[in-house]
């Protein structure tokens, strides 16, 4: 039931530098307060009981319980490094139980010991107050650690929930609603303390038998349930990186929400497959063409087009921070990045780097993606204009063929290294001279005949401002394989 290696790993993770500092701050604070109170008032039993009850037991113990309990397992699940514990012939309840023991030990050490010290400072254990509250702290740590370990296993927001419980439920509701006090770990611990002092100073709203039973039941139930939950812990696989879907999700915790969001593209893909609406050359659904081309949804493709609003669009800093915290506004060209219209400022450049990074993260798929768009374009598919325009702009060095097969470029910076994504720039690019693109050897690929595409609703009018000088982003010679 107890595995020393797991214990060692948990212990070292819990008492990593930063967490140890935070864990240590509260006890130090308690001792400081106890000293100040002692200086102010001298040895007073009532005051001692108030301080220990109000500060130590009501605030410090739950917070340390939260930090230790959630910290024993939460960050590991969040990171994904729990897979190294799970992929072992070790029973999951054993893992939970070991972590519980470590969490309880840490909580006890950081809460009961300072409580005792503070109690001795305050009134030198008059009426057994210091000892009583220490016992209460010990008992409460067990229950808190178990509860918060369960919370840490079950949800990602364990810390916040734990704090809400500790600081809001027990403090606020406990004092307002009488019935809520029966459901408060603090009261149960106070019942035990009351038994130790036996006097009037430490009172509890819950009788001792009830309190003990509830404590034991809660601890056992929480541990057992956490063990069961850990047995079914799923790592839903795809690491949703930040650039991927505009936000990040820990790929754990029952595979909801985030993965569903990312896979919305699949849903549309499936639906199109079922309806056969997708325009493949052979009439079957193409994997790439059916996906993420709807102007509405492009969860798996970063909003490269979304970075540049059409000329004249007002500055609309819609996606916060450009990329990191927003979901990709589904490719609609109307959603601008702030400053994108001029390609200047942080957002335009930011967007371009974002697109570069995300495109390079997409490897082949990105290129096939782009190519098949041009294929559809050649066939006269009309979609969101600006969209299409954006995506027909193959990255430098890319060639489209009738088959939509594209050879990946040699350089990682395939796209959008030039931030000029305004409409004006697009118009300039639209005016391609005839003769088109160079031919590649070796794979039998042929180039897209420009004339074929011209008549099919080429979206932008020919601009007379075609520059005759080569633009700086041309591909170097000898670049084909």
């Amino acid at each position: 039931m107890y595995d020393p290696t797991v214990a060692r790993l948990t212990y070292r993770a819990l008492l990593g530098r930063r967490r140890a500092l935070i864990l240590g701050a509260l006890p130090v604070l308690l001792i400081v307060i106890a000293s100040v109170v002692r200086l102010l008032t001298g040895a007073d039993d009532q005051v001692a009981s108030d301080v220990l009850g109000g500060f130590a037991l009501a605030t410090m113990v739950p917070i340390i319980g939260v930090i230790a309990g959630t910290g024993a397992i939460g960050p590991e699940i969040d990171d994904g490094s729990v897979v190294y514990l799970l992929a072992k012939p070790l029973k999951r309840p054993t893992i939970i139980f070991t972590k519980l023991i470590v969490a309880v030990a840490v909580t006890m050490a950081f809460s009961a010991v300072p409580t005792f010290i503070a109690g001795m400072i305050l009134n030198g254990n008059g009426q057994q107050i210091a000892v009583a509250y220490t016992v209460a702290a010990l008992v409460a740590s067990i229950a808190y650690a178990a509860m918060f370990l369960l919370l840490g296993t079950v949800t990602r927001h364990a810390v916040v929930l734990g704090l809400v419980y500790a600081l809001v439920w027990e403090a606020l509701f406990g004092s307002l609603v009488a019935g809520a006090r029966t459901l408060s770990v603090q009261q149960w611990a106070l019942a035990v303390a009351h038994k130790v002092t036996g006097g009037d100073l430490v009172t509890s709203d819950v009788g001792l038998p009830t309190a003990t039973v509830l404590l034991v039941v809660v601890t056992v139930l929480a541990t057992w349930y956490a063990g069961q939950k850990l047995r079914s812990l799923t790592l839903a696989g795809v690491e949703l990186s930040f650039l991927d879907s505009g936000f990040t999700c820990a790929p754990s915790h029952w595979a909801k929400g985030c993965t569903a969001r990312r896979q919305r593209g699949w849903r549309s893909r499936n639906r199109r497959a079922k309806n056969g609406r997708s325009p493949g050359t052979s009439g079957t659904t193409s994997y790439w063409t059916s996906t993420s081309y709807g102007p509405r949804r492009r969860p798996s493709r970063p909003p490269a087009p979304a970075c540049s609003p059409p000329a004249g669009a007002t500055e609309d800093p819609t996606p916060s921070h450009g990329a990191p915290t927003s979901r990709p506004r589904a490719g609609s060209s109307a959603s601008g990045g702030a400053g994108g219209a001029d390609g200047s400022g942080p957002w335009g450049a930011f967007c371009s780097v974002y697109s570069v990074a995300s495109n390079s993260a997409y490897g082949h798929s990105g290129s096939v993606h782009a190519a098949s768009s041009s294929r559809r374009h050649v066939l006269g598919e009309e979609r969101d204009d600006a969209h299409q325009q954006q995506n027909v702009e193959l990255p430098t060095g890319q060639l489209a063929t009738g088959r939509g097969v594209v050879t990946p470029p040699p350089s990682p910076f395939r796209t959008e290294s030039c931030p000029g994504r305004s409409l004006r720039a697009r118009v300039l690019r639209a005016d391609r001279p005839p003769g088109g693109l160079a031919e590649r050897q070796g794979t039998g690929l042929r180039r897209v005949p420009h004339r074929a595409s011209r008549g099919r609703g080429r979206p932008r009018a020919r601009s007379t401002r075609a520059s005759s000088t080569p633009a700086p982003c041309a591909v170097p010679a000898g670049h084909s394989d």
Binding site: G237, K256, W266, G280, Y287, S365
Partner: protein
């Protein structure tokens, strides 16, 4: 000799189908799981590794299910994709911890570290490691208990060419020893070089399996393409087009070669030398233009 059996497995998340009725058997040797991003490779590997339950179907290793079965990890070694490890441990401590969790000792850990050649850095903290070093330590932790099934999720991510070669050698060795090695990738060159047997997953469906050249043969709806240089291109072209096994011949003046589309592969391979001999044409180059895994893959993905 462990065999992984995946039987009509589907996995959906709400409305979204990630893996769509896949049936395959992974036997000893190196198998590559190939597919575009988002095809369901990671989901499938997680199901194989017991980290995800299939919505329908079953995943069994030698008859035992992988879901909720801790004892199966004695036979499985997993190299996950995510980089997060216990950063505060040194490499050696990490592998030793993994060994201890398997019930083995520090010696096994030392052997594993020697296999991946990480002994020189084993006493540094993992937080100071580069990506390739982390990957190798992950490999060591997966090898420490000598598993018969190795699951690697995108193992070549972020490795430089030399490390990649080393890892490929290692995996080849493992495969030759009779272990079952399954790795997923979306980089075609790696899979081409390493895997004798590939499984292609596209959009959650199992698109193809086997040797990629044989898969290419099976794609009879797509004409095989060849690049042929000879002493008399036009005559050869005229002779070949007369036969129904070719569907198109292009004279490529820039290359000075013929590009031939052959719809009947078997017949064409017999035809070409005979025609050349009959007409007294010397063949200088005959090379297939689309026998690469890349074209096979793109055909599979595009269809």
């Amino acid at each position: 000799m462990t065999t992984l059996n995946i039987d009509h497995v589907s996995r959906w998340f709400g409305n979204v189908v990630a893996v769509n009725d896949i049936t395959m058997t992974i036997g000893p040797g190196v198998t590559g799981l190939l597919g575009p991003n988002g095809a369901g490779k990671s989901t499938l590997i997680n199901m194989m590794g017991g980290f995800l339950a299939p919505s329908t179907g079953s995943v069994t290793l030698d008859g035992e299910p992988t879901w909720r079965n801790e004892q199966i990890y004695k036979k499985i070694g997993i190299v996950p994709e995510r980089e997060a490890m216990y950063d505060f441990l040194t490499g050696r401590e990490f592998v030793v911890a993994n060994a201890e969790l398997h019930g083995l000792g520090a010696k096994a850990a030392g052997r594993a570290l020697a296999t991946v050649e990480m002994e020189y850095a084993q006493d540094r903290k993992i937080s100071t490691y580069s990506k390739g070093m982390r990957q190798r330590v992950k490999m060591a932790s997966a090898l420490v208990h000598d598993p018969s099934l190795l699951l690697l999720d995108e193992p070549f991510n972020g490795m430089d060419p030399r490390q990649r070669m080393q890892l490929m050698d290692l995996l080849r060795r493992m495969g030759d020893e009779g272990r079952t090695v399954l790795f997923s990738s979306h980089i075609l060159e790696e899979v081409e070089q390493l895997a004798a047997h590939i499984e292609v997953i596209v959009a959650g469906r199992h698109a193809a399996s086997g040797d990629f050249r044989r898969i290419r043969r099976l794609m009879t709806d797509r004409p095989h393409r060849y690049l042929v240089r000879s002493s008399d291109d036009r005559a050869l072209a005229a002779a070949l087009i007369a036969d129904p096994s070719t569907s198109g011949i292009e004279v490529d003046l820039a290359e000075g070669a013929l590009r031939i589309q052959a719809v009947d592969f078997g017949r064409f391979t017999v035809l070409l030398p005979r025609v050349a001999k009959d007409h007294g044409i010397r063949l200088l180059t005959v090379s297939p233009s689309d026998e690469s895994l890349e074209s096979v893959f793109s055909y599979l993905v595009a269809a």
